[in-house]
């Protein structure tokens, strides 16, 4: 059983966002609190609360939107700082990392001394990079046999009171130490099992570990068996873990060198797909991978990423992205701070490699009922992903018709691969199963496209084929050469006779209609007042011209 140290920040997203612990703040994702500062927690805010509820409990709390990239960028320097103490640190997630303590403990004088040193190092790095006062950043360190016990120890360490505390569970005492804990501490992936155990009257890990192993396997399956091993303080996968054959690693070379994170991340995604495909064929799943990036100048960054469940392709690609973002973000900061002992890359990436470090037999996974997609869909998905790799993820969009009065507002563009709105009659993102499953449910503010309120003020069909996004000014003159205006009652000062678009030669208007006034959101400052005209020119062209803030603009053209 490997003696392991886990360093963790209970509310890393809040720390990474630069919130001071003594000021209330909450980090929300999908309208739910995912992290809060100690000050907010003191007011009764807990994780999983709705934003509104959290604001009711703690009205002065600052609300910060979640950003996985920011969390990862802020975590990277901390990992680098701890890496200076000991090599082979495994990143579990932003805000949590593990390391094997055997060597370093002997060097630094024991588990507790090492734990305190790691906590000090982490907090001071956080203090510098994020700007939160050192000791109060709230680093927790747990040292124990195995990662599960150490992780739990790190979580428990803080709750006893006092910041930056270290908790050491003695060697061989894991089972006794775990016994009084509630079964819900088994954590992610075991929620269902924990709920079932409670209903069966098994409340603590001690009760659970007392059950016979064979009976647990018979009743709860392989998940139950793993949890049972955890509860007994054993390594859940001692035998199955083995080094994979060397040809499992996948790599991509960049020629010319790649400077942009987006492009590299897209390559990482295809690498991840490739790797998972290979592992699938062998019937394996990876629990730890290392992602290695190399630059033209020979700098390289290797990070080990561990995941409780089996890593899937999108999770793997996301980790590669975090790592690259953290690394590349280092360049800018380093330049500002002078010599900080660690530096970002000085040149573009030439190599990206993903190596499965630890694999185990895949226990099987229930595939979706709907099976694979048609060949042409997969082909199209590959082509779009390739273009996204070339130009960045926002370069390929798909459109969703949404509510609105202006022509531009009726269309919502969504990057290819993100979920279109719920309820829209779309095939779900094809060729990339499982990606951003809950994305469509985000927030309550967006209207679904199936819902069609009347939108008074919309122009009748047909819609114009060209909708100008950049503003094109127009000059509208009446028969005597005076500028045409719209008065406060929404009427034209005189019938328009000629129009000149962006300074071109004026053309005669052969027919026109309007103005149709449009007053949106008059109740707040974001409101717009417009009046729109349809004009038809003598050469057959037709345009929608709208007046806003004292100027005429060409809104759209019937090309």
């Amino acid at each position: 059983m490997t003696r392991t140290l886990v360093v963790s920040y209970p509310d890393w997203p809040a720390v990474a966002a630069g919130c001071r612990p003594d000021e209330p703040a909450v980090v929300v994702f999908a309208n739910r609190v995912i992290a809060a500062t100690p000050a907010a927690r003191a007011e009764g805010v807990v994780t999983g609360l709705r934003r509104r509820e959290a604001q009711a409990r703690c009205p002065e709390a600052e609300v910060v939107a979640a950003d996985a990239g920011r969390d990862a960028r802020a975590w990277e320097p901390v990992v680098a700082a701890i890496e200076a103490l000991t090599p082979a640190i495994e990143v579990i997630a932003p805000g949590e990392a593990a390391l094997a303590t055997r060597g370093p403990s002997r060097y630094f004088g024991g588990d507790r001394a090492l734990g305190e040193l790691v906590a000090r190092t982490a907090d001071s790095t956080v203090g510098v990079t994020v700007g939160v006062a050192g000791a109060s950043a709230g680093c927790r360190v747990g040292v124990a046999d195995g990662r599960f016990v150490a992780g739990l120890a790190a979580r428990v360490a803080g709750s006893g009171g006092g910041g930056g505390s270290v908790l050491v569970v003695d060697k061989g005492r894991s089972r006794q130490w775990l016994a009084p804990h509630h079964v819900s501490v088994l954590g992610q992936g075991y929620e269902e099992l924990a709920g079932l155990l409670v209903r069966l009257g098994v409340h603590t890990l001690g009760d659970f570990s007392g059950l016979p192993a064979a009976a647990v396997l018979g009743r709860f399956g392989t998940d139950g068996e793993t949890a049972h091993k955890l509860a007994r303080g054993l390594d859940p996968r001692p035998v199955k873990a083995r080094t994979p054959p060397p040809d499992m690693a996948v790599a991509a070379e960049f020629d010319p060198p790649e400077m942009r994170v987006e492009a590299a991340a897209f390559v990482a995604k295809s690498l991840a797909d490739q790797l998972l495909d290979r592992l699938d064929r062998e019937g394996l799943a990876a629990t730890m991978v290392s992602i290695e990036a190399q630059t033209e100048h020979g700098e390289s960054l290797v990070r080990h990423w561990r995941h409780d469940g089996a890593l899937n392709a999108s999770a793997l690609a996301e980790r590669a992205r975090w790592q690259l973002e953290g690394w590349l973000a280092g360049t800018g900061r380093e330049a500002g701070r002078g010599d900080g002992g660690r530096s970002g890359p000085t040149a573009g990436l030439i190599l990206l490699r993903i190596v499965p470090e630890e694999v185990h037999q895949d226990n099987g996974r229930q595939m979706g009922f709907w099976g694979g997609s048609a060949e042409s869909d997969a082909r199209a998905a590959r082509a779009f992903a390739r273009v996204q790799g070339l130009l960045g993820p926002d370069a390929v969009m798909t459109a969703v018709i949404a509510g609105g009065r202006g022509f531009a507002e009726q269309v919502r563009l969504v990057p290819w691969g993100d979920s279109r709105d719920e309820g829209a009659s779309t095939p779900p993102v094809r060729g990339r199963p499982g990606q951003r499953g809950q994305g469509g449910q985000r927030g309550g503010g967006t209207r679904s496209s199936t819902e069609q309120p009347p939108w008074p003020g919309r122009l009748e069909k047909p819609a114009p084929a060209v909708v100008h996004h950049e503003t094109t000014e127009a000059q509208l003159l009446d028969a005597s050469g005076n500028a045409v205006e719209v008065n406060g009652r929404g009427l034209l000062s005189s019938p328009p006779c000629t129009v000149s678009i962006s300074g071109a030669v004026p053309r005669t208007i052969s027919a026109w209609a309007g103005p149709w006034p449009l007053e949106e959101r008059w109740w707040d400052r974001g409101g717009r007042r417009r009046a729109r005209l349809q004009v038809q020119l003598d050469n057959g062209d037709a345009h929608v011209i709208s007046r806003e803030k004292g100027c005429w603009w060409v809104e759209a053209s019937y090309c």
């Binding site: 082509a383 273009v387 060209v466 909708v467 209609a513 309007g514």
Partner: protein, 227 residues
Amino acid sequence: MEVRGALGGLFPLGGVQRGITVGVDSRAGVAGSVSLALAVTGGLMAGDGCSWAAAVGFPSLGLVAAAELGVPLDRLALVAEPGERWPLVVASLLDGVDLVLLSQPARVRAPDARRLVARARERGSVLLLVEPSKRMGWPESPDVHLDVESASWQGLGAGHGNLRARRLEVTVGGRRLAGGRHRRVSFWLPGADGVVEVAAPAGTPAGPGERSDLDHERERALVSAVG
């Protein structure tokens, strides 16, 4: 690939051969090519042969109009700003989708253009060029070209009504059309009920146009009576 709807009449056997290049253009000073291209896209995507399409280089495409002309937006990818590497982008898309609409960037180098045409032929996808004559010009002449000769709107008067129907005169030509070089066809695009339909030949005004003219007469009479 079959072209459903009224526009099928433009092509021999009512469809587009896989791998060809289609140019949609308009005479100088005449608008309507973008709508025509969208209508052709809609007709193709309604058929069985074309399940995915991509539009490259249209930063201001009217997507509501596209949806009205029958383009399923969930199967249309938009690359608004392909940038310098547009030939690579178009080539990648030709590999994966059945139809690529291209509004070409300012400068086209002849080898790039030839390579793309060859790529489309090899992959069996259709490259639809919108206004290839505009700006610097597409060096290759497309296999089939559709030209909008004239466009006229119906339904708009002097301060009343709204744009309702448009009549397009389209000539069809090209190497790949065995019969009738430069055939001339008229369309209502869209018609008064929003559907694309073949219009009666010029000279016999019928259908939506007449009715809306009548409407205008009546409205005008009403306005003058009230005034």
